[in-house]
Symmetry: C2
Subunit: 339 residues, 2 copies
């Protein structure tokens, strides 16, 4: 299997110079129609395809964007958040000339290789970042880096940094207020990892919703499941054992809601009769379990897709929106009822 044809090969074959061949193939106007078709034909005949690497070296554009994700792990098949955003990114990139490389990182790894290095090494044209923790070094770096980037679910803007998120705050408040309207007063909150921006904002929403509906905040009702089912189960078990007055649970993720439901089951607490539960994410499972989970739907696919689009705008220097907010929606199902 021989090597792929180069510009030089075409030049030799047609008798023109490398320069002319290059310009012909790139649609410049200073090459006559005749030579252009001749060159194009031999290019086709030889199966020529430009060497993106060589091109990148001189143009400084790799036509590659990085999809940086923290802890790409198989456990997240339950919520498919990362996978769906990836699909969104992939789909919109498919109609462009860009391709994307998946870069899985972690807080530990970020100490070995700086964000700058990651971008520079492969001369990434742009970056989509998802799942970063608030205090991750990459966050500050990304903010005032030279290479365009768009953050998912972390509302930070910079010279070349944009973000896409959703109306987390409002929708979370809406969920809590819904519980209040159903007559619940002792509403527990299962928070996710403290290091995630979404956790902070959802928690704040929970607090504000209670305040606005005239309920005093009880710190004991706020527990943490770190976005994990098992941890949530244990935390819920502990809380429900000690506080029989809790009649509703708002969870920062569906996966944790699963843990809460499991805990309730173990204690013989019936959902929704004895305990109402609301999740967050609208994962696939949420409408298959019994009782079906009331939850807040997000649109990860659309987020990925919007992120990619915005990134390309950024890369190509068009100015436009620097922030996008998608709409979440409260989906009422069977896990909630009147007090």
């Amino acid at each position: 299997m021989k090597e792929l044809a180069t510009l030089k090969d075409i030049a030799r074959e047609t008798g023109f110079s490398v320069t002319t061949v290059s310009r012909a193939l790139n649609g410049y106007f200073d090459v006559s129609e005749g030579t252009r078709t001749k060159i194009e034909q031999t290019a086709k005949r030889l199966g020529y395809s430009p060497n993106i690497i060589a091109r990148s070296l001189v143009t400084k554009q790799s036509k590659t964007i990085g999809f940086i994700v923290t802890d790409l792990k198989r456990e997240s098949i339950k919520d498919n958040f990362m996978y769906e955003t990836l699909c969104g990114v992939s789909d919109t990139l498919a109609s462009t000339t860009y391709e994307f490389v998946v870069l899985s990182t972690s807080t530990a790894k970020q100490k070995n290789k700086t964000y700058r290095q990651i971008c520079a090494e492969r001369q990434l044209d742009g970056v989509v970042i998802q799942g970063l923790k608030i205090e991750d070094p990459y966050l500050i770096e990304a903010m005032d880096s030279d290479t365009p980037c768009v953050l998912i679910d972390i509302p930070i803007e910079g010279e070349k940094a944009a973000y896409v998120t959703s109306n987390q705050f409002e929708s979370a408040k809406q969920a809590v207020k819904y519980l209040r309207r159903m007559g619940h007063e002792k509403i527990a909150y299962m928070n996710g990892s403290e290091h995630a921006h979404v956790s902070q904002i959802r928690k704040k929403a929970y607090e504000e919703a209670l305040r606005e509906t005239g309920v005093e905040l009880d710190p004991a009702l706020v527990v943490n499941g770190d976005f994990e089912e098992e941890m949530a189960r244990r935390a819920a078990l502990h809380l429900l054992l000690n506080r029989s007055d809790v009649s509703a649970f708002f969870c920062a993720s569906d996966v944790m809601a699963l843990g809460v439901m499991q805990a309730a089951k173990e204690l013989g607490i019936q959902i929704p009769k004895d305990l109402s539960v609301i999740g967050f994410d609208n994962i696939l499972l949420s409408r298959y379990i019994t009782p079906k989970l009331t939850t807040i739907s997000q649109q990860p696919y659309e987020m990925g897709s919007a992120a990619a689009e915005m990134l390309i705008q950024l890369i190509e220097g068009h100015d436009g929106e620097r922030q996008i907010e998608l709409k979440n929606e409260l989906i009422l199902r069977e896990s909630t009822s009147n007090r």
Copy 2:
């Protein structure tokens, strides 16, 4: 934000030549200890990181492997096959110097850009291919291409081509024979897309299992759901309406089994009392629905991980296994019972 430092910068700074700097940084032995440390220090001080693109151009190694997947689409959040293999690939690649770019293709796209071009353009060091149809052009190309590749679930070998698969045939037979042992005789088979290799092999297994247990093949009992829930539902509906003697369904995927179960429900047919159902894949959902689905488990994560490992062996010229077969397992749950 200034550009990243280059070898030239370090050379200027230290007074050595670019050659020496390069060799020092790459650990050659013909550079004295003194200069090496001096060079290393300034490299660190300037935040030097090699430009992989430039390096690739001369070494012909991009340190990038391609993950070619057909029709990366959000629908597959139900079976997470593709996502899990991706995690497997990502995890084993994480401990190497390779990175991977996701290349989503389709039968249509394969007409525009040949496999060779895809590999050559980005000078991919190797490729993992998943989800290819049997008659896809890429298959033949990959088989005798120069760039190493590992196919997932398509047992084809080549000079530089290897594959990883599972004991599909045996495990499918085992499932059908299990139904036979439970006394079922009229066993329907819901096949997946004809173009998928796994469909063909699972169908053959179904036929052979019946033959070996002395049941005459009834072509009318073989229907096709194209790996889609809705199509499977319709096909099952049609079959179950006309053939009340069918007492069991073996499905080439869990997602299609979901469709079958839905059809049964619509017809008032109870599972497993009136109809036994076995799926394939052991998707997350399969143990959450009621009744819990009896199915065959696969190990997509391990497949991806094994594929990546084998690919690197191939790339680096070590010879070793060219084919890997993982073990599937029949998982008995609640959707099957005696006739």
